[in-house]
Amino acid sequence: MNPLLTYMLVPLLVWAGIFGYLFWLDMRIRALEKRLEEEQSR
């Protein structure tokens, strides 16, 4: 692989891992908030 491409891939990978996980956590928090609201209003 082209060395330039390789070292551009690395920070991209780290950023993708971090933001992917943050996004997943955010989605879970939103879903849980919605479920809690629904359960409490029942």
């Binding site: 390789t6 070292y7 690395v10 780290v14 950023w15 943050l22 956590l25 849980l32």
Partner: protein, 234 residues
């Protein structure tokens, strides 16, 4: 308070973006590497590897705290730390493989450090399997805390001892000695580590929040179900 939170998150993003840009624009290609340009990978790979250790250390600390106090919050924190440890272990392995491909000609060389991180991931994968296998909350917390405390010495051995007693492609003691790294590399590496640590704290707090919300939901359901069940019995 919310403004400070948002400002903090923006600052973390800007900091990491600036360090990433510095790694490309400011760092010179490093001599002594097969591919001097790709030496910059070290700046991203090493902080991920250090944070893997930090996360599992935090996991062991909160597991010990749980066994002492039986506070469910400490169990949530231990679980959050283990999950983050796994995330950073995966990132360290992936970035390391790309570096190995350029530096040593193959993405995987069964180097002691490569082997030990795979073993480490298996040890902590078993931690998640254990947590998933036990339904009762306090029993799950107790068992996983005990397992985490048993996994901790294995983790120290795999990260700090094994790669030093067996011949390895990875250099040792380069981070804490003056002759180990070029000053520009050292500054960039530790700056990225600082940014990544801030992200770690942010993710840790969010993960604990998820656990707390899940248990609140469970408590609410139990509170609703209990009168119905006792009503049926009566």
């Amino acid at each position: 308070m919310k403004t400070y939170n948002v400002a903090g998150k923006v600052l973390i993003g800007v900091w990491i973006a600036a360090v990433t840009a510095a790694a490309f624009l400011w760092l010179p290609p490093a001599q002594g590497f097969r591919s001097p340009e790709t030496a910059r990978i070290v700046v991203f790979h090493v902080p991920c590897a250090i944070l893997t250790f930090v996360a599992f250390l935090v996991n062991a600390f909160y597991s010990w705290q749980y066994l002492r106090s039986r506070n469910p919050l400490t169990d949530s924190k231990a679980n959050a730390a283990a999950e983050l440890g796994m995330l950073f272990a995966i990132l360290a392995t992936a970035t390391g493989s790309l570096f190995a491909m350029e530096q040593w000609g193959s993405a995987w060389n069964w180097d002691p450090r490569e082997t030990s991180i795979v073993m480490l991931m298996l040890v902590y994968a078993a931690y998640f399997v254990l947590r998933g296998a036990v339904e009762e909350k306090s029993k799950r917390a107790r068992l996983s805390a005990a397992y985490a405390l048993l996994a901790f010495p294995a983790m120290v051995f795999l990260i700090w001892i094994l790669p030093r007693i067996v011949e390895s492609l990875h250099p040792t003691n380069t981070l804490f000695t003056r002759s180990g790294l070029d000053p520009t590399y050292r500054v960039t590496l530790w700056s990225f580590f600082a940014g990544l640590t801030a992200v770690f704290v942010w993710m840790f707090r969010l993960r604990v929040q998820v656990e707390q919300m899940e248990s609140r939901l469970q408590q609410h359901r139990q509170a609703v179900m209990e009168p119905l069940l006792t009503g049926e019995q009566g």
